[in-house]
Symmetry: C2
Subunit: 469 residues, 2 copies
């Protein structure tokens, strides 16, 4: 039996079971739904066992204070075979505004080849295709075990900030040991343009607080002769970029991995409609940004400094003629491989120190440690194996994308010390996080097919995947 | 009898009467005190009549909807004599915080040569010295009428924005006709450094609103490739000044009257303690501002652009990774003679238009028409006459100052088309607008003395004062 044959044979059961899972409102951000998140985990464990995983467990987080993850493992017969860890999540986003849903978010319905329901795409549907995939792999090979050891880790807190995820990875570091991490929680360029993500930008936030006079000063008495914190803040923020749109913070670009010619060439081949993209941003003008890079390169592969908020002085109706005592700004930096969040904040501190005049006090703070960027080179063995699996499933060339935003993926790569391969079939059109979330049912089956081929491709590339052991 | 002799003889009665006036809580900003403002006006009319003014009237404003002013007139015998109009106000500031007063604000007490009470300096005490002054002038000359026609206009809404003052000036333009306006509502440099104000900066406010995307954008998806309104606002505000601290708005300095060498020299002779002044602003650093000017020149005689407030994007706790849809800033410009508020706003509009990139919408608005600056050259005949009067009263050289802030004085100069002469003896130490307002009783008597001499000096300078008729 061929992989595709097995998948088609089991497709009805697959969607019936997935629809059952989608009835569980596992909203991790809503404390009232904690029991449902737990029910969702238990449901998945049962399915993994039924699929044949010899190990399938609910994993508590924060000693039972957090929301549970699911772990499963199916060892290859060959103990030297590569170990692949699949990552996804079983919790979902809240559903408000409910009145904008055409059907109930937790009563899944099929229509025109689409399955509607909260979690259909993000991420239950995509996690679930792995169960169909491994079954198809075994059906096609006629063996009792997969050609590589498959571990599956399905988080229950991704939509509420992955609060305990890094701790879980560290405490279970031994059992999660692997040669490659398969991330199934992203999207493709389009249904007819299959693609794989190869990187996500990291992020670190910062706040700049400037304090000048001890109180607001009368601008008639002092205006024009003492530093105005708002002017200094404007200078600081305006000076963050040079005329080429490059960030001026010391050493900001020092560790940035340049985009390879291969990747640039592949990005350039994506059918990108810049005008439509700009319109989506409500902008009828032109794109801006770092000189020498295209829009997709700028939002995927180049770091940025963005001011997210600023405030100071009088902001009510009418006017107030003051030199305000304080000025504040919130910033965030999108980072690319190999920038280190802490080093960026050090650079910002130096920049502020060098630019704030005497008589003003400046403070730069940052909450948390930020998120490191992650990146897997398109030409790396793991990504190439994934690409072959995707190309076999889709029957056409697979291109590469990155994502501008950030998730727990960098923790996976870093704590488990393994390359990431993004295998996912979601679409921008899936309306994840929004009303009427849906998934393209044909694409889910393609995902299962790609997942089935993936284990063979990893087995075939065993030498290069396990060389780092 | 000499002027000073007459003043000393009447001093006790003067302070007794003033103390009586100070018991009336004529707080124009408090609607509950409207009747008290009216009672204060009526009280003053009675005092003016008792002093000998043949005309003394309550003048309604806004057809009785506003708070009343007081008008009085004492014609010179010679119909060709100069006409001087004295300006002051009889309303006072609110008294909160009441617990910080050492005595009740409307129960005046004398202590150590100081008279404490709301309005003691600003402006009842100073208005009232004119009545003592004109009496001393007549006592010294032995005549029945002053040597110049004296008109007195005492406003009842100065502390609440002079809402109806310009209208009053326009509607009473004929009766207020004069050759010189004597403003008695400012302060001197110090008790031992008598001085006269010769100018006040004008002001115009503005708001800049920038609108970019139709909604806040996810900075992961769009950051680095579309214009961020906060960045553009920072650029706009940072670019308002060049590296010499000069305002970059087109034609901003075009009409500015340069400071004369005479005035610069006189300003330089004021005993200015810059360190103490900076400390008052809560600043331990250094002064800043337009290159080529000292601190007093910068705050008195040079125009400025100040950002009074700015806001946009996320300003709550933590961070939010957005490119915000909007950014806003409130500005005010302090203006010096002969800048025109409306032209400054035109210049700002041009500046914003030239600096905002495509895809962002910018709006510049300004409330009201602003306040024109006012200025009387130190070497002008009216100021020189006033200076001689002050020097006779104080027995020493009188220096010149300006004020950085703005009041209804520009309306007086402009609508009545007459030069301003500032005769006042208030001090910064008087705590006007604050708890424990007080006045130096000796200085009030010096003020009366200067006012008495002033009418003779004006009479002596009649030719140059009335040449413009």
């Amino acid at each position: 039996m061929q992989v595709r044959e097995s998948i088609d044979e089991n497709a009805d059961d697959f969607f019936a079971a997935l629809s059952d899972w989608l009835t569980i409102p596992s909203i991790s951000g809503d404390p009232a739904c904690s029991a449902e998140v737990r029910r969702s985990a238990e449901w998945l464990v049962a399915q993994l066992r039924a699929t044949g995983f010899p190990i399938a467990e609910v994993w508590e987080t924060a000693e039972g204070q957090g929301l549970p993850a699911v772990y499963a493992e199916w060892p290859a017969d060959d103990p030297a075979a590569p170990i692949a860890l699949v990552y996804g999540h079983h919790d979902v986003q809240p559903v408000e505004p409910l009145e904008e849903w055409d059907s109930q978010p937790f009563e899944p319905v099929q229509r025109d080849g689409l399955l509607f329901g909260r979690g259909a795409s993000d991420d239950k549907g995509q996690v679930f295709f792995h169960l169909l995939g491994v079954r198809a792999n075994l059906a096609a090979s006629g063996r009792q075990a997969p050609p590589v050891t498959i571990k599956i880790l399905v988080e229950g807190e991704e939509e509420s900030g992955s609060t305990h995820f890094a701790d879980l990875l560290r405490s279970q570091r031994e059992r999660l040991n692997c040669d490659v991490v398969v991330v199934t929680d992203t999207s493709m360029w389009a249904a007819d343009v299959p693609s794989m993500c190869v990187g996500m930008r990291g992020i670190i936030d910062a706040q700049i607080d400037l304090r000048g006079p001890t109180r607001d000063l009368h601008s008639g008495s002092f205006g024009g002769a003492v530093p105005n914190p708002l002017h200094v803040m404007a200078d600081l923020l305006a000076g963050l970029h040079d005329t080429d749109g490059r960030v001026t913070i010391p050493a900001f670009y020092q560790k940035v991995l340049p985009i390879s010619d291969v990747e640039r060439e592949l990005i350039a081949r994506l059918p990108f409609d810049e005008k439509a993209w700009l319109a989506e941003a409500g902008n009828s003008g032109a794109t801006v940004g770092e000189a020498g890079y295209g829009t997709l390169e700028r939002i995927w592969a180049r770091p940025t400094a963005e001011v997210n908020g600023m405030w100071g002085g009088y902001t009510g109706p009418g006017g107030k003629t003051i030199i305000p005592a304080q000025a504040h700004a919130k910033l965030s930096f999108r980072l690319v491989a190999r920038q280190e969040p802490a080093e960026i904040i050090d650079g910002l501190r130096q920049y502020v120190r060098e630019h704030v005049p005497a008589g003003l006090e400046a403070r730069v703070t940052s909450e948390g440690n930020g998120v490191r960027p992650c990146f897997s080179a398109p030409e790396s063995p793991a990504v190439q194996a994934g690409r072959r699996a995707m190309e076999r499933a889709f029957g056409r060339e697979v291109l590469f994308t990155r994502e501008g935003g950030s998730g727990p993926e960098a923790d996976l790569a870093e704590i488990l010390d393994a390359p990431l391969v993004f295998i996912a079939v979601g679409l921008d059109a899936d309306r994840v996080h929004a009303p009427n979330e849906r998934v393209d049912m044909d694409l889910l089956l393609k995902g299962a097919e790609a997942a089935a081929y993936l284990w063979d491709e990893f087995a075939a590339a065993a030498g290069s995947l396990t060389s780092g052991r």
